[in-house]
């Protein structure tokens, strides 16, 4: 029975090889063999599923979490009934159905593309795992961090997490979507409504959507794993992603090549579901194998940036808002999330820019213009705000003379400081792309008003936990009502401004008709009213945002700091 221990100075150490056994023994103990492979995956998957459900339940309460799938089913049911108008089979359609309706291929594409983007956004499991490992000594701990202490590998835990998330989304989102479609078809039997959708297509749609979901999660997972490997992988991954995006955007590859679910939904495509699912799962497995068993928490000394940040925020006064904004700014910079957040904020804006280009290119019959896009640019604030709330656990603030509304206001302020310039750049790019510089000032007003309103609405409804609130049907109903009504109003009002490229034809008309020239393509009076309407709605949104910020104290004033 003994111990020997001695240390030497690092500077005295000379490199030696320790490849041989060091001579320790198990002293005759019978050693346990840790679970590996399927057994380890199965044990982990089961508890992870329970963990996910409990976490959502914890925030949203049982009644509301059950309402979420119901809400999804209801919205899908309405969409199913409205489908007849989209494909040109409804009574409301005129004779010119070709120009005002979508083909089934376009509709399928419109179903799978957003689903792919959603899954890409949710699937960066390597980043998520790293965050959980780093935060495991905090107040919340998750099974994804358990390999640090338990006989479980990071690849097994991450693969189980992928399968858990896939299963969870299929159950909570895709299955209610298909159920909603089924109810929509069922209504045909009892009411006058009709839908071109048939029961027989539902299983195929469910499988196809599951394929897209599995694919998006796997792609995002492998991109995050490669990024975390560091070195050349970190540098090459973004180039690879941009290259794929460019190839797809330029139409060099058919859509089905990058949307495996879409390929599955084509006639005779169902057979592709199995290889596509297997390919996605294999990709996710490879991604999980790339996650290293790394539980290091780097100790890095940093220069003081809190006080310099605080000093620069003089315009916020001397109260707690200035202090909290400075603290949030430090979190944003030190956590290394700023780049990731800016990229995640910019991706939907790039998609919108591409859409603007496509609509312009395809000469769509609807007079979509810069003012039609402006409200959507503001809409993407939800994502950024969600990231901001997940940066740091706010529970340490429970002991400080601060309130939750103060922290929420600080996060909203940081959101504006960090993102407004990006939105402005994108709107300018759109104005350039669509050659609609004349409406840019109004576009900026609409965009900023929407941006202010959407983030204030998110903050008001969801507080410090928007990531959990998305599964709360009650909150999402209010969010849906609160966003769709103003967005739709602005979108529809933008059409009154007509195809602003009309101005370009003005000279031609004058040349042809002389003094008889007039704006025959649209109603000037209607345009003026619409313009006032746009400004009025924007002003209303700003007023609503201010009101929501005032109401924060009533809703969150007694809440504890918790995300």
């Amino acid at each position: 029975m003994s111990v020997s221990i001695q240390s030497s100075d690092w500077s005295d150490y000379s490199e030696q090889s320790h490849s041989n056994a060091l001579g320790s023994t198990n002293a005759g103990m019978k050693l346990n063999t840790p679970l590996v492979g399927w057994a380890a995956f199965s044990a982990t998957f089961r508890v992870m599923f329970v963990e996910e459900f409990r976490e959502n339940l914890d925030f949203a309460k049982k009644r509301r979490i059950l309402l979420f799938p119901l809400l999804v089913a209801l919205v899908t049911m309405v969409a199913t009934i409205g489908l007849q108008f989209l494909v040109g089979e409804g009574a409301a359609q005129g004779a010119d159905t070709d120009s005002n309706s979508f083909t089934w291929d376009e509709l399928r594409f419109a179903l799978h593309l957003p689903l792919l983007f959603f899954s890409l956004g949710m699937g960066s499991f390597a980043f998520l795992g790293r965050e959980k490992v780093l935060a495991r000594t905090g107040t919340k701990n998750y099974l994804l961090a358990s390999p640090a202490l338990q006989p479980l590998t990071n690849p097994t835990a991450h693969f189980a997490y992928y399968v858990k998330d896939l299963t969870y989304y299929v159950m909570l989102i895709l299955t209610p979507v298909i159920s909603g479609m089924a109810i929509g078809i069922l209504l045909e039997s009892f009411t006058d409504v009709s839908t071109p959708l048939e029961y027989s297509s539902l299983p195929r749609t469910w499988v196809a959507m599951s394929v897209t979901l599995a694919q998006g999660l796997a792609f995002s997972f492998i991109a995050s794993s490669l990024w975390l490997l560091g070195g050349w992988f970190s540098r090459l991954t973004p180039f690879f992603v941009v290259a794929i995006g460019t190839v797809i955007g330029l139409g060099l590859l058919p859509r089905q090549y990058f949307l495996w679910g879409l390929a599955t939904q084509q006639p005779d495509g169902l057979i592709l579901a199995i290889p596509a699912l297997l390919a996605s799962i294999c990709l996710a497995w490879i991604a999980s194998q790339l996650v290293l068993d790394d539980f290091e928490v780097k100790v890095v000394s940093k220069k003081e940036i809190f006080l310099p940040a605080w000093a620069r925020l003089r315009f916020l006064g001397n109260g707690p808002l200035r202090l909290l904004v400075a603290k949030e700014a430090v979190d944003l910079i030190r956590s290394g999330s700023l780049k990731k957040m800016i990229v995640s904020y910019s991706v939907p804006l790039i998609v919108l820019l591409m859409m603007a280009w496509l609509v312009d290119f395809a000469e769509a019959p609807i007079p979509i213009n810069l003012l039609s896009y402006a409200p959507f640019l503001g809409f993407f604030g939800f994502n950024f705000y969600s990231w901001l709330t997940a940066l740091d656990s706010p529970e340490h603030m429970n002991g400080l003379p601060l309130s939750v509304p103060q922290l929420i206001r600080a996060k909203v302020t940081v959101y504006f400081l960090a993102t407004t310039w990006i939105s402005v750049i994108f709107l300018c790019l759109m104005a350039w792309r669509l050659d609609e510089w004349a409406v840019l000032p109004v576009g900026l007003i609409v965009m900023i008003a929407n941006s202010i309103y959407i983030v204030c609405l998110t903050a008001f409804l969801m507080g410090l936990a928007p990531n959990k609130a998305i599964f709360d049907a009650k909150i999402m109903t209010w969010f849906w009502i609160g966003t769709v009504i103003p967005l739709l109003s602005l979108f529809l009002l933008s059409f009154t401004q007509g195809d602003v490229s009309f101005y370009e034809n003005w000279a031609d008309q004058v040349q042809d008709k002389g003094l008889q020239a007039e704006a025959v393509d649209f109603d000037n009076e209607k345009m003026a009213t619409g313009f006032k309407g746009i400004l009025a709605v924007s002003a209303g949104l700003v007023a609503a945002a201010i009101l929501l910020m005032k109401l924060l104290d009533r809703k969150w004033g007694r809440a504890e700091f918790n995300n």
């Binding site: 003994s2 240390s7 346990n32 358990s146 479980l152």
Partner: protein, 259 residues
């Protein structure tokens, strides 16, 4: 320590650094079975880094570790399946109940008769009434009990404990202390990190004092004292206090920071 004795823990030139910051200077250690060995030091001395390196939670920058004949860097899962670890500040997964967590860690280790063992340790720690409560809703002390139960459930012969009694009430401190002493009597081995010197006097047969990632002194509790009148606290201040003064002197002279 004679070479003929069997060592459960062997580390050679084990060191850890993060850039310019040295968390643990190269260190050689051998611990044989039946030891209750304590590593003591002030906050930030390198105790937790030391224990994490020995248990495969961290990869060493230099040197190697072998525990129970298992290379800690190469087979961390196999090592973790056969030792018990109680970390300093980690909690059980927030959204599992204590019983679910114990089932999970027991299954990962391939323990037989798991249900009865889970029940036994839940009873032992008085957690039966909390069996339906998620760990996030437990008190700090109750969460610590769950972590201790997860380290004891497979009845390992080698335990690594980092501040194990933090947040435990005196009754369970005594109960755990007695259990650990009994375990050592039966041939078990315990490696303990703490800054609570009382634990050394009550439990450890050997101890080391470290600071700034270096071992300042090691030996039996009695052997470290210069006289019968000297308390362990005096020893600690004599050894560590000096190095703290040294650190403060260096700090006054200026330390370069990096961004």
């Amino acid at each position: 320590m004679s070479d003929s004795e069997e060592s459960l823990v062997v580390a050679k030139d084990l060191g850890k650094r993060y850039g310019d910051f040295i968390a643990l200077h190269p260190l050689n250690v051998k611990v044989s079975s039946g030891e209750f060995f304590g590593v003591f030091g002030p906050n930030g001395a390198g105790k937790s880094t030391f224990i994490k390196l020995l248990t495969g939670q961290l990869r060493p920058s230099i040197g190697a570790v072998e525990v129970l004949g298992i290379n800690a860097a190469k087979s961390p899962q196999k090592l973790k399946a056969n030792i018990g670890i109680v970390p300093e500040s980690e909690s059980p997964p927030s959204y599992l109940t204590p019983g679910e967590f114990l089932q999970f860690v027991g299954k990962l280790r391939g323990i037989e008769d798991l249900d009865s063992k889970v029940k036994y340790w839940m009873d032992w720690f008085g957690l039966q009434e909390k069996s339906d409560t998620m760990c996030k809703d437990l008190s700090k002390g109750q969460r610590q009990k769950v972590m201790l139960a997860s380290a004891f459930i497979h009845e390992p012969k080698l335990l690594f404990l980092d501040e194990p009694f933090a947040n435990l009430d005196p009754i369970y401190q005594r109960k755990c202390r007695q259990w650990l002493l009994d375990m050592v009597k039966k041939g078990g081995t315990i490696f303990l990190c703490s800054h609570v010197l009382e634990m050394a006097e009550r439990m450890c047969n050997r101890m080391a004092i470290i600071n700034h990632g270096k071992v300042l002194a090691a030996g039996t509790v009695k052997g470290l004292k210069e006289s019968d009148e000297e308390t362990l606290e005096d020893v600690f201040i004599r050894l560590v206090g000096h190095s703290i003064e040294e650190a403060e002197r260096l700090s006054d002279e200026g330390v370069n920071e990096e961004e």
